[in-house]
């Protein structure tokens, strides 16, 4: 009994201690296992670079894994907000998991910076979605960078080969909306499945009418299948890959067939090649140096988590004026502070949020690369002052 009482009192002392010294709790929910593991692991790595104190307040990180599963993601978020009393959330990794957690996040009135692009999940005017921000560029930013390059190179006709899933659909829609005003004619839009064994038929169809360029809207290694088939069938025009293909695995699978093709990616992927004075160059190099020393080759997904932390770090001092961490007041102030982010130079982009733009990524956050000798070379980037 004595021990029990001692235990209770110790616990009480600890609880009082915790309350006296306010600490900021950052809840992180990522897909570090499951199909999106390659993204989630990189993001989790980057979280380890998070600051241990912000504006004199200690920072505590609680990291959960949702196994790329929407149900688990929702459970994780509920646990983070109710048990861990987090002040801000980072994650989820994928679009489906991000879409699934909106309700839980909004109900808890906690700001969240998701690491998946989110035209569908972020909206400042919607009472629920006003809590959600996103760190990556959306498909419009990607599409604009590509169309600008096409216009520069005099591309008039384009065929699209899209993977038959949500990603392919979203990319195709963004491409169509942006290409038409620029006078680029779309000859055909062909679909293929991620697990298809052959894309020859789609490639033949896309090549009919001999388009100036072919745009492949697919992510990861599946993007290589139509690309290799195009080269095998002797296509000589320009090939554009969407941003989803920009990873090392894709280069390995595609091999020689990828030479000379174009690909969209945040400039952080080719940080060293950026011209001096490019607004994100300094931070990009800082990220690359820190990440590669500890975890190996850089990953654009890791840079998203890095930038989300930067946004939080910049917003906390402003929010602290309104309330103590752990309170609803602080969370609301933090949300407002994140929404007020202006000209924050991250590794991936310069972030300027506004009540109508919760992504904050502008054209500076996108570049176009060319594959040369199995490596990425910076081909085109946004104008900067």
């Amino acid at each position: 009994m004595k021990q029990f009482v001692a235990g209770i009192s110790m616990f009480a002392v600890m609880a009082i201690g915790a309350a006296a010294q306010a600490e900021i709790t950052i809840g992180v929910n990522l897909s570090s296992t499951g199909p999106a593991a390659s993204l989630g692991i990189a993001e989790k790595n980057a979280i380890s670079f998070g600051p241990s104190t912000i504006a004199g307040q200690k920072v505590r990180y609680v990291i959960y894994d949702d196994a790329t599963d929407t149900t688990t993601a929702v459970q994780n978020i509920k646990r983070l907000v109710s048990e861990e009393k987090v002040d801000v959330l980072i994650g989820p990794t994928t679009s489906p998991t991000s879409a699934a957690v909106i309700e839980a996040v909004a109900a808890s009135k906690t700001p969240m910076i998701q690491l998946s692009p989110g035209p569908a999940t972020i909206s400042a005017t919607d009472e629920k979605r006003k809590w959600i921000f996103s760190a990556p560029a959306n498909t419009t930013i990607y599409g604009t960078a590509m169309i600008n390059h096409m216009v520069k190179k005099g591309v008039k006709t384009v065929s699209v080969i899209a993977v038959d899933d949500a990603y392919g659909e979203v990319s195709t829609v963004a491409y169509k909306a942006l290409s038409e005003p620029k006078g680029i004619k779309t000859l055909t839009i062909e679909k293929y499945k991620r697990t298809d064994t052959s894309a020859t038929a789609q490639v033949l169809k896309a090549m009919q009418g001999n388009p100036d360029a072919i745009f492949i809207a697919s992510s990861g290694t599946p993007a290589a299948l139509p690309h290799v088939a195009l080269i095998e069938r002797g296509y000589k025009g320009k090939i554009y890959q969407s941003g989803g293909a920009a990873n090392a695995e894709f280069l390995r699978i595609g091999g020689k067939a990828l030479e000379g093709s174009f690909m969209l990616a945040p400039p952080v992927v080719v940080g060293e090649q950026l011209p001096d004075g490019y607004p994100t160059k300094v931070e990009a190099l800082k990220f690359i140096k820190a990440y590669e020393a500890k975890f190996g080759p850089r990953s654009m997904f890791a840079s998203l988590a890095w930038d989300a932390l930067k946004i939080v770090e910049a917003a906390v001092p402003k929010a602290l004026k309104s309330g103590q961490p752990g309170t609803e007041k602080f969370r609301a102030a933090l949300r407002d502070a994140i929404e007020g982010t202006k000209g924050l130079k991250g590794a991936g982009s310069v972030f300027t949020m506004s009540p109508t733009d919760h992504s904050g990524v502008n054209q500076l956050g996108m570049s176009l690369m060319k594959v040369e000798n199995g490596k990425w070379k910076l081909e085109d980037h946004a104008e900067f002052k």
């Binding site: 499951g34 390659s38 499945k193 298809d196 064994t197 052959s198 020859t200 033949l204 290694t221 290589a224």
Partner: protein
């Protein structure tokens, strides 16, 4: 559509059909002998290609652990069965047959993986890893249910499929692989260029089909398998062990699956979950063959390949819809044209 496009599409169709035909044949074989509709057949295709890719990268393939795990479970089940049936004296021999080959293979892989052997040897090693999984899966999942209904066996097969796909993701990750081709040659027939690898696919699958035909028609084991497929009880009466036949048919199924994977690994990108859809298309072929006729199934596989290739050209978004909708008229025709009777159920 011009003639050249037509020829290229046809060639693509034949390449895919060859693989579907192989899978259709093994589905019929397994169904005939054990009455299992082996949904997990396709997983051997992905395992074959992914294992080969791991070996080429000099990484110990995760499938080796699966092999050892299966052998372990089979050994425990075997021990339990023999002890409860009072046949303990058979235990050492029976355990040796279950445990020794996988252990030897695992050791061999451990030694050979860092050596970066030539492609041919790596293919052989891949076959050695994947092929024993068939019989072991049969021992673990299907043999204890051997007398259950077709439906129960199908449910067990679906369960095996999910386990294998999940493990595939665990072993190989979500990204796909492409293995180097057996030959880089390109053959020019008029304006149609055929890659050496597709020739490999045609030749290897034709040879394998011919071998199967010879095996079933000329050898004692083959005839025994046919006898079991034709009438299980009758076969048992004349002294053919249905368990041995089941083991044998699963060994053939995993060998065919693995071979298919190794053959198409260089022509396409394969993922941990690619096998299912490939297997399913083989299944459509097998349905055309009424799950019984080998030549009809091969013909069905051709239909699947051609309709897939041409619908990809005209209606790429609805390709799989076209292929799988084909089952409906075939089933209609078969259920109207054949006399139907319930067997054993």
């Amino acid at each position: 559509m011009d003639f050249q496009t037509l020829l290229i599409l046809a060639q693509d169709a034949v390449t895919n059909s060859a693989i579907y035909a192989l899978l259709a044949l093994s589905l019929i074989l397994v169904f005939g002998v054990t009455r299992v509709i082996f949904v997990a057949q396709g997983e051997f295709v992905s395992y074959g290609a992914l294992t080969l890719a791991s070996l080429q990268m000099g990484v110990m393939p995760g499938t080796v652990w699966l092999l050892l795990m299966l052998a372990g479970i089979a050994a425990v089940m075997e021990t339990f069965r023999l002890l409860t049936s009072g046949a303990g004296q058979e235990l050492p021999r029976s355990l040796a047959t279950v445990l020794v080959p996988p252990l030897v293979i695992a050791g061999l892989v451990k030694v050979c993986t860092p050596l970066h052997l030539p492609l041919g040897w790596q293919v052989l090693l891949t076959m050695l890893i994947v092929m024993p999984m068939g019989p072991l899966l049969y021992r673990v999942a299907f043999r204890p249910l051997a007398d259950a209904t077709v439906l129960v066996l199908l449910i067990a097969a679906v369960a095996v499929h999910f386990v294998l796909v999940g493990l595939g993701l665990l072993f190989f990750g979500a990204e796909g692989v492409r293995t180097p081709p057996f030959s880089d040659a390109q053959f020019q027939f008029g304006f149609l260029s055929v890659s050496g690898q597709s020739l490999w696919v045609y030749v290897a699958s034709s040879v394998f089909i011919a071998l199967l035909a010879w095996f079933f028609n000329k050898t004692l084991y083959g005839k025994a398998l046919r006898a079991v497929a034709f009438n299980r009880n009758g076969a048992r009466l004349v002294g053919i062990s249905p368990h041995l036949a089941g083991t044998f048919s699963f060994a053939l199924a995993s060998a065919i699956g693995c071979l298919s994977g190794v053959l198409i690994g260089p022509v396409t990108t394969l993922y941990y979950d690619s096998g299912f859809l490939i297997g399913l298309k083989g299944f459509v072929g097998a349905i055309v063959g009424g799950m019984a006729s080998y030549p009809l199934a091969a013909f069905g596989a051709l239909i699947v390949g051609f309709s897939e290739s041409f619908s990809s050209f005209w209606l790429s978004g609805y390709k799989d819809v076209v292929v799988f909708t084909m089952i409906i008229p075939v089933l209609l025709w078969r259920s109207l044209s054949t006399v139907h009777y319930e067997e054993e159920e």
